[in-house]
Amino acid sequence: MTTTTEGRGPPPVHRRRQAVVAWLFALPFVAVFSVFMLGPLLASFGMSFSDLTVRDIKTPFAVNFVGLDNFAQVFQDELFRKALVNTFFFVVVGIPLTMALGLALAVALNSGIEKFRSVFRVGFYTPVVTSIVAVAVVWRFILQDSGLVNTVLGWVGINGPDWLNDSTWAMPSIIVMAAWRNMGTLMIIFLAGLQAIPRDVYEAAEVDGAGAWRRFRSMTVPLMRPTLLLGAVLLSVGFLQVFEEPFVMTKGGPVNSTLTISYYVYNQFGYGNYAFASAAAYVLFALIAALAAVQFRLLRSKED
């Protein structure tokens, strides 16, 4: 550390003092992170290899080491597999939908409606910062059997289902709601990406006779690729952990059709199966880590 930058930075004594000061500044974060994040993370990792349940909370050290038994049981549980399938459905349909909406909004704001850009930007971002509880009340009314959606569908002669109480339609309804809630974040990210693309590139293409669609496909998308992938990574980490939407809208029902992995873990903690719940949580963690790794690899290879 001292050899390569010799003669450029401050003398070693100063640097050591700087390091001490830096650590002092970092200390509050490190302390809070250790106590509230790292500690529980490691504790639940340890728990996932034990047979700890609510019965053992007075004597948490007098439990047995059961190796990978909990993980084996997690994968054998039919309900967990159902939660896994539900979560994948949510992610596979939800991410492209949210990305498309976010990108469409960003492109529209970037090119078309420049005059009221800030108004629309705030408007589309509002769902992100609105309390999920309040949002849920409104959405439940909208999606009711005789709610707004079905009333509108009725005008064109369609007899809509009872969205949230139909095991076929509950998950799609939740996906739409999640897309609506998250598209604002992506819109902001994508808008920043779009604004970083120089105007004259587009003008040159226009002179060469490229239409709007052609410009979007051959210029915007390739130039935006790093930003798009960033959005995809952020979104998929969040979507794999989806919990709030089914919790406030359907309680995982009907017939477990909106039970997600996070919800499953939450239920298992509620039943007092701490070790088992920890194992299930680490399965989810592994899934997220794997997906993020794949996405980062894609991101890097395109940049190279």
Binding site: L42, M47, V54, P60, F141, N165, G252
Partner: protein, 428 residues
Amino acid sequence: MKLGRKAVAVGIVGLLALTACGRADEGSTEKPDAGSTTTVDDSPATGDITVWAMGEEGEKLPDFVKGFTEENPDAKVQVTTIPWADVMTKFQTAVAAGTVPDAIMIGTSFMPTMVSTGGLAPVPDGLVDTDDFIEGAAASTVADGVDYGVPWYVETRVMYYRSDLAEAAGVAAPTSWEELTAFAQAMKANGSEYGLQLPMGDAEDSTQVILPFYSQAGGSIFNEAGDAYDLDNQAMIDALTYYASFFTEGLSPLAGYGDTQNSAFVDGSDPAFISGPWMVNVLADMQGQEWVDQNVATVPVPAGTANNDSYIGGAHLGVFDEAKNADGAWKLVRWLADPETQQEWYAATNDLPAVTSAWDDEALTSNPRTQVLQQQLENTIAPPTVPSWDELSATIETEAEKVANGKVTAEDAAKTIQAKADALGLGW
């Protein structure tokens, strides 16, 4: 090699120390056996007594215990009100950290989980006489063969229906399963959209209706030895079939209560339900007491082939194993379970007395609706006090939902329920 595995577990779970700090005595955590409990004498209580209580009871109790501190001037009662949603978390944290209060209000459904943590102390011998309490309530204080709580108040579910619409439909209060179906059909034929409101799925705790159906059909939860669930039988098939029939025949909405339970009752589109005593006040708040008096009938639930058992809930009082003032806490509990105190508590809160003799009270005998509740309290089924019931009931609710949706047969659902029950065991 249990010891060897334990050593490894200590190493791994040692990480737990980061979160579960503050536990001082690692050695003295074995449950005291019931026989060793000290008896509680009749001398006045002394010292600070700390109590946790939930919801409305938690709000009313601080004022109410002044009666106790007048009789026991050397005692001081401090009540902490806890939201219902936080009880289990706070309880578990307190037990793990050793920072418990002295006494706690125990919602009957929390009993098994609380006992399984080892946090509660057995009721001292001779503190109260079990025979003084309503049978279903007294039974639900016993977990794993030991008495861990004293019944405080009870609630049970009765049938509510729109008497004006029933009259128009030409039907009387149903007393059997067949009559209940016919009642719902008549209500529907009379112009209501549905005939009976029933809960659907885990989200609406439908076992609170399905478990009574099962009991009404003659089912019992455990085998004769009482050491395993016994649920794959004709009574379960009957109960699931009967429950599902209301949905498949269009007499109950598949969505369950949903957000419109009360409004559907008031506007007559779904004019009957099975619920607890609190519904009288809920409806009176919406429509006024006069409307309730004129249009709402309350009757015991209809009977199946065996009986007309209804769900019994309510709350018990317990004392912590590591309570600092266990003697004072038990004396407070004994005072709260006294018949006279129970009558005063009813006057203060409308909570129904758990002590049978307290029902002599004029306030209770003169009210026809509480009379129906008293009648129903003679035939009740309490949820079993075993830790795995919470998880098993979620399976029962989901399977019942599948039967109601026509996705599986009642026979297959009963088999799935029993398989889950076998996998879970009782949970001790």
